[in-house]
């Protein structure tokens, strides 16, 4: 025989002011936690979804970022015709020599500037990235100073709509198309022809080469080993997905912020839950006595109060989740510490994250209810009945 749940619910309703205040406190803590974690989650998801598991990225030996790597034209020639690189129907090797240049662009809202990546890609560059599609206008034409920009760039930066032009250095780039990159890191890039980029930015070298090995010829590991051992090349080869996974560390400070805030704030919220529950216990001392006389045991009382606190916190948790939901999908940007450019991403609230938020609420309710429930259970029956 346990005390019915309805008893707790009605108690919460009777003291609705206090219930509401405590609930709101817990809700806000949960909402802040979910908000910050959604930020970190969105940033990570952007990098994790970038890259094709079939591709390999070639950088200069010792280089950690595409933007600072250098591959000579001679090396490009050697790599393109290596054994084991897949070819398309016309016999063209699936290898795209690329160059990444950081440029400074005005933001659309005229609030300052930010660094954006311009990626010069080879003729097969688009084919190596199946997630990227041109959704407006057309692809740039090799040999012309034309570019396609990602949808996010078109939204966030000035002079980046189809038909407009922007200037970097002494070059005018005409925007001829907008591409959608399925929320990958390419969503923060401008794409141009690699050779045009080399000419415009006066680079005598490429930055990297993206290659696709033949799928069944050799295993990827031996391919990497063979390429890195080649005496003519001074390169580092790694799977494309791994390169982007490495960059998820950009999200680490945000995760830290989220965890520290959540822990400290939840202690505060647990205090307030404790306060509420102590008040509930002292106001219902007589009821506790009555329940005991009716035959309920100490542990029933204990459980009942603990449960009440947990219900209170869970209600707060649900409210917190609801408060945070509108953030889902909102676009924002931060600086990547690898490329020093702005990377655009979205708040991403997943069911798992909501569950984490609810778990947080549960812990707050549990911690807040533990001591008051023990106090309630330990009251001697007669004293409890006698209290006013």
């Amino acid at each position: 025989m346990t005390i019915p749940l309805r008893y707790n619910l009605r108690n919460l309703v009777v003291r609705w002011r206090l219930t509401l205040a405590t609930m709101l406190g817990i809700a806000l803590v949960v909402a802040v936690f979910i908000m910050i974690m959604a930020l970190a989650r969105g940033l990570k998801a952007t990098y994790i979804s970038t890259g094709d598991p079939r591709n390999l990225l070639v950088l200069r030996k010792g280089s950690t970022a595409e933007s600072s790597s250098q591959i000579t034209r001679n090396e490009v020639r050697l790599i393109r015709y290596l054994d084991g690189i897949a070819r398309d129907d016309s016999g063209e090797p699936l290898a795209s020599p690329e160059i990444l240049v950081l440029i400074n662009l005005d933001r659309r809202d005229r609030k300052g500037t930010a660094n954006v990546l311009v990626r010069g890609i080879g003729p097969v560059g688009l084919r190596l990235r199946t997630k990227v599609r041109v959704i407006e206008g057309r692809m740039f034409q090799p040999g012309l100073r034309e570019c396609v920009v990602s949808r996010k760039i078109a939204e966030r930066f000035a002079h980046c709509r189809v038909g407009e032009q922007f200037r970097t250095g002494r070059t005018l780039w005409r925007v001829v198309g907008i591409f959608d990159a399925a929320k990958t890191a390419y969503e923060s890039e401008i794409w141009v022809d690699a050779d045009e980029a080399r000419a415009a930015f006066k680079r005598n070298f490429y930055g990297s080469i993206l290659i696709r090995p033949v799928e069944d010829s050799v295993t990827v590991a031996t391919m990497i080993k063979r390429m890195e051992a080649d005496k003519q090349l001074s390169i580092r080869v790694l799977p494309e997905v791994e390169y982007y996974k490495e960059q998820t560390k950009t999200a680490t400070p945000i995760q830290w912020l989220g965890s520290v805030l959540a822990v400290v704030m939840s202690i505060g919220a647990a205090f307030s839950a404790m306060n509420t529950m102590y008040a509930a216990v002292s106001a219902r001392t007589r009821e506790i006595g009555t329940l005991r006389v009716l035959g309920f045991r100490r542990r029933h009382i204990y459980l009942s109060f603990l449960l009440e606190s947990v219900i209170l916190a869970l209600l707060g948790g649900v409210l917190g989740c609801l408060l945070s939901l509108p953030l889902n999908g909102i676009a924002t940007g931060t600086m990547s510490w690898t490329t020093f450019s702005e990377v655009a991403f979205e708040f991403r609230i997943t069911p798992e994250l909501l569950a984490n938020g609810m778990a947080f609420a549960l812990v707050m309710g549990g911690l807040g209810g533990l001591l008051p429930a023990r106090l309630a259970a330990s009251k001697p029956v007669l004293d409890a009945l006698r209290s006013v």
Binding site: L28, L102, A114, F271, N275
Partner: protein
């Protein structure tokens, strides 16, 4: 019984509740103080008399593009320029990528003049200038790796294709950032094959008045060349980096307002509990001749005191806590270079205390007002 004694007695009537409330106010203001400190550190780069004299020249396209070294001679000829120094981000790896600290190739004979607020030992600077493979390191990085003057270290280049082997010739203290390593630009040029390139030029102007015209002159000098420049004050240069981290102001601002709001909620509900259970006493006070305003004042004093104790605990806790923490750990290391000083300023502490004052006033107004207005008879009839 005196009036303050009466207020104090009332405050301590429910000790458990008092402690819990004070602690939750303290925790909230503790967080508030830390967040404001973080915000200040990120958005307001330290400005000194010296740093106001510095301007930075970079490639107009972006910081990722390098400038020809030959620009330096032309900049030096512009009136108003006292010193012009090459400064190039080396971005090398020491042992492991995790051991990150900023490294710059600079003109060894100009470093002490450009970063004049840092304290250099003149003898060490002379040693550094004499040794082409020497370097001079900030005290925080020295301590982090346990280096001594005379130690030899190797950096592995990730941007520049060379691995300089350096001998530590000196230490500097103070200044904007105590984590940097400076080494000879000529040494890097030599190792990388005399590329004739550098990242930025740092200029020390004769005085602050010439800076606006200086900026214009420099950019005009290189307009329509292969490498156009963008010149800005050091402050603008740093703020541009900050703006790219994202809308930090909005993020931290909204978190702070949530914290303050939650705190008001918690304190107000405590005060309403405390006041409602006292309705009978308040009625008695009225019956023996206290008027409404006096009683309001008593209640106000109680909530005010509660908020201020919490405020002092929280704000000074954060102040002392960060100070004590930084005696043992290096903030730059644990924050991965994001924070350098993380200094809780008096300004921030005062704003935290101001919030506590507002909190003390706001949280008791509604419940105190309603019990003050309650008639004596109704008050006496109240049961608990």
């Amino acid at each position: 019984m005196t009036i303050p004694g009466f207020v104090l007695r009332n405050a301590f009537r429910n000790k458990r509740r008092l402690v819990l409330t004070v602690l939750s106010v303290a925790l909230s203001l503790f967080l508030f103080t830390l967040l404001q400190t973080a915000l200040r550190e990120l958005t307001q780069p330290a400005q000194t008399e010296e740093s106001a004299l510095r301007i930075v020249v970079r490639h107009k396209v972006s910081l990722g593009n390098v400038l020809p070294v030959k620009h330096q001679a032309r900049i030096e000829r512009i009136p108003g320029v006292r010193t012009c120094m090459k400064l190039t981000w080396f971005g090398g790896i020491y042992k492991d990528p995790k051991d990150f600290f900023p490294q710059f190739a600079v003109d060894a004979d100009k470093i002490a003049d450009i970063f004049a607020e840092a304290r250099f030992d003149p003898q060490e600077v002379a040693d550094f200038q004499k040794d082409r493979a020497g370097c001079i390191v900030g005290i925080k990085t020295m301590e982090r790796f346990g280096w001594k003057v005379g130690d030899r270290i190797t950096l592995q280049g990730t941007i520049w294709p060379c691995n300089p082997e350096l001998t530590i010739r000196g230490v500097y203290r103070g200044g904007i950032d105590e984590t940097n390593l400076f080494f000879h630009h000529e040494y890097m040029d030599e190792l990388c094959g005399k590329l004739g390139l550098c990242g930025t030029f740092w200029i020390r102007a004769d005085n602050t008045d010439v800076i606006p015209s200086l900026i214009e002159r420099i950019d005009a000098t290189f307009a329509n060349t292969d490498a156009e420049t963008k010149t800005e004050t050091e402050r603008a240069f740093v703020l541009e980096f900050v703006s790219m981290i994202g809308n930090v102001k909005l993020l931290i601002g909204s978190i702070c307002s949530v914290i303050v709001f939650t705190m008001i909620l918690v304190t107000a509900s405590t005060m309403s509990m405390a006041i409602r259970e006292r309705s009978r006493e308040i009625a008695i006070l009225k019956a023996i001749g206290f008027d409404g305003w006096q009683i309001f004042g008593l209640l106000l004093a109680e909530s005010f005191g509660l908020a201020m104790v919490g405020g002092f605990l929280g704000c000074f806790g954060a102040w002392f806590g960060t100070w004590a923490l930084f005696q043992h750990v290096n903030i730059t290391t644990i924050s991965n270079g994001m924070f350098i000083k993380f200094e809780v300023t008096p300004h921030i502490v005062v704003s935290g205390l101001l919030i506590a004052i507002v909190l003390g006033l706001v949280s008791c107004i509604a419940p105190a007002w309603s019990s003050v207005r309650m008639s004596v008879v109704a008050g006496l009839k109240e049961l608990d």
